[in-house]
């Protein structure tokens, strides 16, 4: 009964598994990225105008906030929501209207707007989180439609026509900078927060919920509370992004926030990067924004644009079902600098 060769093979495999378990992180990398981003507006001191670069980074950062926020519910707890732009809208309208009427900057209001979104999220979650899987996804779609109709018919906020907000009183070259910092800082905070959540008992509980709710419940996890809390938390971040986004665009209107493309972007970024991972939404956001930009450059934005986006999405899903980060991690080829989990 010779067992040594088999044992050896098994040992190697087990060693690989163990290796996967403790991979030291390259903490310096995200910090370095952040530092570079914080210094980027200095470019404006040169003679050329880098507004569009700032815009792209800011835009990406705003999606990092949203996608990472979405990730708390969709990635950790496994409830895919195609309706998170509702909170984007709530944040945007709440802060935007206060800004329009009382002139308080939305950057200051953002956390408060997030909180409002979170409260609404909590209430909605109590209803929709009763179902999971496809039914939940569809309920989230319906949620968008409901809010769309409500906002369209709410005269106080300008109905379907929306409200235009006063533009910030800075020279063109510097007008983007406050928003730039707001979004970059929010993105950093959100990513760090999701990291903390994932590595907390709460995060572990969410992951359990995403796999088997009955088992999780009998393991002592208050599933209903956990998932509604997750819903509220993710609504918080998305709402925060919405708050500043409105002022940045100088315009709030239902079909800026409540179009399906916004929530699809969040989902797509997470899936492409790696749902449930920390770096995933960041990578996803960068890739999707870059991709959209490339589409605009090469196709001038057209039907082909939509076709190409769909193709990329389909290919990503087919070949990286776990997302780029997730798939690389599974095969053990994830560069250390991207292992933020």
């Amino acid at each position: 009964m010779d067992q040594s060769a088999v044992l050896e093979a098994r040992r190697l495999y087990n060693a690989r598994l163990a290796l996967k378990a403790d991979k030291t992180r390259a903490v310096w990398f995200p910090i370095a990225v952040l530092a570079v981003l914080l210094a980027l507006p200095l470019l404006q001191l040169t003679s050329s105008n880098y507004n569009y670069v700032l815009h792209l980074v800011l835009y990406t950062a705003s999606y990092v906030v949203m996608a990472s926020g979405w990730n708390i519910l969709g990635g950790f707890a496994g409830y895919i929501s195609l309706g998170h732009n509702v909170f984007f809208a709530i944040g945007g309208y709440f802060a935007g209207m206060i800004y329009a009427r009382y002139g308080v900057s939305t950057i200051i209001l953002a956390p408060l707007a997030g909180l409002v979104a979170a409260v609404v999220g909590y209430v909605i979650g109590r209803i929709t989180l009763k179902v999971r899987g496809p039914s939940f996804i569809i309920s989230s779609l319906a949620l968008v439609m409901i809010f769309r109709i409500l906002f369209d018919n709410w005269d106080f906020v300008g109905g379907a026509a929306g409200v235009s907000l006063p533009a910030i009183d800075l020279p063109v070259k510097w007008a983007k900078v406050p928003y730039y910092y707001a979004f970059v800082v929010m993105a950093a905070v959100t990513v760090y927060a999701t990291y903390r959540i994932k590595h907390s008992k709460f995060g572990l509980g969410l992951r359990a919920i995403s796999k088997d709710e009955i088992k999780a419940e009998s393991a002592g996890i208050d599933t209903r509370f956990y998932k509604t809390l997750a819903f509220a938390m993710s609504a918080f971040f998305v709402g925060m992004a919405g708050a500043v986004w409105g002022e940045y665009l100088t315009y709030i209107r239902p079909n800026i926030f409540l179009i399906i493309l916004v929530s699809v972007n969040m989902v797509l970024m997470c899936i492409l990067g790696g749902k449930g991972t920390i770096a995933g939404p960041v990578i996803g956001a960068i890739l999707i924004v870059a991709f959209n930009e490339a589409c605009v450059i090469f196709f001038g934005g057209s039907e082909i644009n939509i076709l190409a986006t769909g193709l990329v999405m389909a290919l990503a899903l087919m070949f990286f079902p776990l997302g780029i980060i997730g798939s690389l991690a599974r095969s053990g080829r994830l560069p250390r600098i991207l292992n933020w989990d």
Binding site: S200, F202, A208, K211, D212, I214, S218, A219
Partner: protein
């Protein structure tokens, strides 16, 4: 400690549990046996509230628990395993187990997911069950028996006062079973109350202090193992004279 009185669970016309009452005494090992479809698993489900009982009461430590939600019952110190193991895919065995560790209050929520002391404890349990090499394997990638073992390990993680085991021996290798029996006994001696469903009569006879026999949703016999074993009703309904084989 755990008292079930007049528990009923009906599914349409099927009376899975039909007015069943029994008690699991503190510090004792109580076995629940009976033919297939007797209602044992359903009774477990009603006790742990994975299902809502149609009627009847469940008392734990003098408090009624049949209106609580499952996690609240778990928090009161009652943990269970499932007959068909439920495990969490995409989470390592270690995470599967640590996930069952109790969490206290709001502040507990934000504590680290895998604190060293819990990991150490989990690893200890895995070591004992002989599956420590699987600690970092995906929970879904285990064999049937290994999953049962993992369930058992997770159960021990939650520091329960009473555990409900649904066929813990099913699909487990006999050699390992010996050790598990030993372990359950040790835990019991340390004060843990055990309620166990099993078809392995050998195990039941050796382990349990008291045996409750169910058939068609009702308790048909209740007493020390030796007595139950002789009971003609039990022999007829359940054992079919098969005992001499074991």
């Amino acid at each position: 400690m755990l008292t079930v009185t007049n528990l009923c669970k009906h599914f349409g016309g099927i009376r899975a549990v039909d007015g069943c009452s029994f008690t699991a005494e503190a510090g004792k090992i109580t076995a629940l046996i009976g033919p297939n479809g007797a209602g044992k698993t359903t009774a477990f489900n009603c006790i742990s509230r994975t299902m809502a009982p149609t009627s009847g009461e469940v008392w734990l430590d003098g408090g009624r628990i049949d209106h609580l939600r499952p996690h609240e019952i778990t928090a009161k110190g009652l943990s269970r395993t499932f007959q068909i193991s439920r495990n969490l895919a995409d989470m390592t065995v270690l995470e599967n187990i640590v996930c069952q560790a109790p969490i206290r209050g709001w502040r507990g929520l934000m504590k680290p997911a895998m604190p060293p002391e819990e990991v150490a404890k989990a690893e200890g349990i895995l070591e004992f069950l002989g599956i420590s090499r699987l600690a970092h394997e995906d929970g879904a990638n285990l064999s049937y028996g290994q999953k049962k073992l993992m369930d058992f390990a997770a159960l021990l993680m939650s520091d329960p006062k009473i555990i409900l085991l649904d066929e813990p021996a099913g699909g487990v290798n006999p050699s390992l079973l010996e050790e598990i029996i030993g372990h359950i006994r040790k835990l019991n001696e340390a004060g843990l109350t055990v309620l166990i469903v099993e078809h392995n009569m050998d195990l039941i006879m050796r382990l349990s202090h008291r045996v409750v026999v169910m058939a068609q949703g009702q308790v048909i016999a209740d007493g020390p193992p030796e007595m139950v074993r002789e009971d003609p009703a039990v022999l007829d309904a359940y054992l079919g004279g098969a005992l001499e084989a074991a």
